[in-house]
Amino acid sequence: MKRPHSIKRAQSISSGIIYTVLSALSVVWIIPLVFLVLHSFRAEKGAAIKYIIPKEFTLDNYKKLFTDTSLFNFPRWYLNTLLVAIATCILSTFFVLTISYALSRLRFRGRTGLLNIGLVLNMFPGFMSMIAVYFILKAIGLTQSLVSLVLVYSGGAALGYYIVKGFFDTIPRALDEAALIDGASKARVFLSITLPMSKPIIVYTILTSFIAPWMDFIFASVIMKDNYNKYTVAIGLFQMISRENIYEYFTVFCAGSVLVAVPIALLFIFMQKFYVEGIAGGAVKG
């Protein structure tokens, strides 16, 4: 009689500890985000305040983002990023799907060679050769333009084929063969059988490639240099917190960050399901 009782007590103590730890951790993780939002509504100027909760709240920071565009043209940057993201996600999705399908479902001469090349190329850290990318863009006269950003983001996209390929590998080949026997061309099999069955992975690909331009810092800053009008939000916001501007613009920076973070966070939460599946599936299947 005594034993189960003590086990129960030990269990309730241990879950008590776990609740405490989890709640504490939740606070640690959520506080920076709460503060980001709080400070975006703060009326007092400056990078820091001497108390925790701001005394006055205002919408001015948000207004300033859209009206005071002489130094920091936030609406422009936002639009730039959106355009780049849309173009990138269309191109990247196209590239990734075509390459993955070819490598997964079609058998042709040189296929293993391509797989090996892809393996080696993936070992190069993406922006290791950014100087060279910059020079190439310069040679074709495309630096400091949004087109060049789209090209850079989507150019190497096909190398991220393995997750999608892993997905295509799981679709039964019998379906393809049946359609081929019925006289369908390979293009038709791809368009009317494989693609409709691959909705989750297509959504995943679209979302990841849409989000990438919002996150990138390094290529955007290498390519755009000082052309403020072509900035994306990431490098634009970074300018606001430079030493000269931070006093005046810290709260505005927070407001801008909130405006970027909210839609991206929503998209991310929407695709979280695909994210976990994609990674887990990719890990198992390689």
């Binding site: 241990s14 920076p32 070992m123 950014m130 996150m215 810092f217 939460i269 890990a283 299947k285």
Partner: protein, 505 residues
């Protein structure tokens, strides 16, 4: 499954699921050196195989030249002639057009730059006093950078042209044979249809490959070339030219030449990069897993709520949270100001501006960034651990901690090893966290153009954008590649998925 001895296989078969995992890990690490060695031993053979392949193509072409009829022989000079003679007009003229275009490009453009590759330019831009107008004028000289870039592109196109040339000749010969056998000569529309069916892979691969060549392969080749030149601030074309210097840059970064500061800096940054990658990966992994276990423990309520809180922090773009953190922990940032006004400290704590503190702080902030990711990814795998393992452990009297170290951790290490190593590579190249938090700073004078938290990759970035020391940046890039490649090969070797991928279908 394993190339091990019979004893090993026997041991493997007898082992339980968990033990098998151990054996696989052990074998994988044991076999890595020999595999790596094998890779290098096989390298000459593989390169040899490529040459043999090229040779066999040549042999085939010569054979076609001997066996083919007049029209086919003419195709050696006028591309596509054999096709045109057999009424495959569109295809034949397309070949011809490409030939004309190529030779036009080659003679007006390519040949100059390919010839220039040897020296990378000899005449630098000159300032010449023009007596007539009374001002200094620039006389256009060579531009090493453009010569190198266009030279590589031209070489690429030449190789591509040769491939096209061969395939056109083969196609002409094929048509001739078809005609001889009285077969149906394909119309151009048939060729197009083939691209949707028999040759569908060509249509699928073409555009993405062009993009990869332009924006991945070409830049990599270009960068590797730069590592063997003296391209830096003192050799900036068009004012000054740069040229080949062999392994000079590698020697100086390894400390074999006079600039000891560079070698010292490289050693220090390399060391810190590994320390950082080790701790950043390890802390995220262990604590992320513990978090996942706590959330998923039986009897814990509000699982969804807790999970959402942590997922929310990854949903927010990394650069936003990192830039915010940078300000929170700045010398006059929120945290310091608050602590000071609360009277806890009198002087601001230099979270990000003191070398040693900054190194610890970036690892802690990285935990904030990364732990939820691990939590997300390990959740599913944790639930898959067979429950009877825990039960038998409990019967044997193992406590929670013991269970974690004896069952959970080994199991997870086994299943997620590829993920772990990939994370490690990712952290070696973790530009965002370091750059957005500290810019690699605080800068020190006893290192060459770098700060205390600089990783190889942020140092590379600074050397290219700030210092314009492209030669050293390229060498660093090559080293980064080698490091990443070694670890990637371990993953590849471990998962072995590529080798076995055929089995799935």
């Amino acid at each position: 499954m394993h190339k091990g001895s019979f004893v090993m296989d026997y041991e493997y078969l007898l082992a339980g699921k968990l033990k098998r995992g151990f054996i696989r890990i052990r074998e994988s690490f044991k076999s890595f050196p020999s595999r790596a060695l094998l890779f290098f031993i096989n390298l000459p053979r593989n390169i040899g195989a490529v040459f043999i392949k090229i040779y066999s193509h040549f042999k085939e072409i010569v054979k076609i030249f001997v066996l083919g009829d007049m029209a086919t022989k003419l195709s050696f000079v006028v591309m596509g002639m054999g096709c045109i003679a057999r009424k495959r007009f569109i295809r034949g003229f397309l070949y011809l057009l490409l030939q004309v275009l190529f030779w036009f490009f080659f003679l007006t453009f390519g040949v100059v730059y390919i010839a220039g590759l040897g020296t990378l330019g000899t005449v630098s831009q000159l300032e010449v006093y023009n007596e007539g107008t009374g001002i200094f004028e620039y006389v256009k000289g060579d531009n090493s950078m453009l010569i190198l870039l266009y030279g590589i592109v031209s070489l690429f196109l030449v190789v591509l042209y040769i491939a096209l040339y061969f395939s056109s000749i083969r196609e002409c010969y094929r048509t001739e044979m078809l005609k001889k056998r009285g077969g149906q000569i394909p119309f151009f529309s048939d060729d197009v249809q083939d691209l949707m069916d028999k040759d569908f892979h060509k249509s699928l691969i073409f555009v993405p490959s062009v993009m990869i060549i332009c924006f991945t392969i070409l830049p990599i080749i270009f960068m590797v070339c730069l590592a063997f030149t003296n391209y830096d601030r003192l050799h900036m074309p068009p004012g000054n030219l740069f040229t080949w210097v062999g392994f000079e840059n590698f020697r100086s970064i390894m400390g074999f030449s006079d600039s000891s500061l560079l070698a010292k800096t490289f050693g220090k940054i390399l060391g810190w990069t590994f320390v950082w990658a080790f701790f950043a990966t390890g802390t995220n992994y262990i604590f992320g897993m513990l978090l996942a276990m706590m959330i998923n423990k039986k009897g814990i309520k509000f699982k969804r709520l807790f999970r959402t809180v942590f997922v929310l922090t990854i949903a927010v773009p990394q650069f936003v949270s990192l830039m915010f953190m940078r300000n929170v922990f700045a010398d006059t940032g929120l945290f310091n100001v608050f602590l000071q006004s609360a009277g806890i400290i009198s002087e601001p704590v230099k979270f990000l501006t003191d070398g040693d503190i900054a190194r610890v702080v970036v690892i802690f902030i990285n935990m904030w960034v990364g732990i939820p990711y691990t939590m997300l990814i390990t959740t599913g795998i944790l639930m898959n651990i067979p429950n009877d393992l825990y039960e038998s452990a409990r019967i044997d009297g193992a406590g929670t901690a013991k269970q974690f170290f004896a069952i959970t951790l080994p199991y997870m290490l086994f299943v997620t090893a590829p993920y772990l190593i990939t994370q490690f590579i990712g952290n070696i190249n973790n530009f965002n966290v370091i750059w957005l938090l500290t810019n690699g700073g605080p800068m020190t004078s006893d290192m060459y153009a770098s700060g205390r938290t600089d990783l190889l990759i942020t140092w590379l970035y600074r050397l290219t954008t700030g210092e314009q020391n492209y030669k050293i940046a390229s060498v660093i890039g090559i080293f980064t590649f080698i490091i990443s490649a070694v670890f990637s090969l371990i993953v590849y070797n471990y998962s072995g998925s590529a080798r076995r991928e055929g089995e799935f279908q």
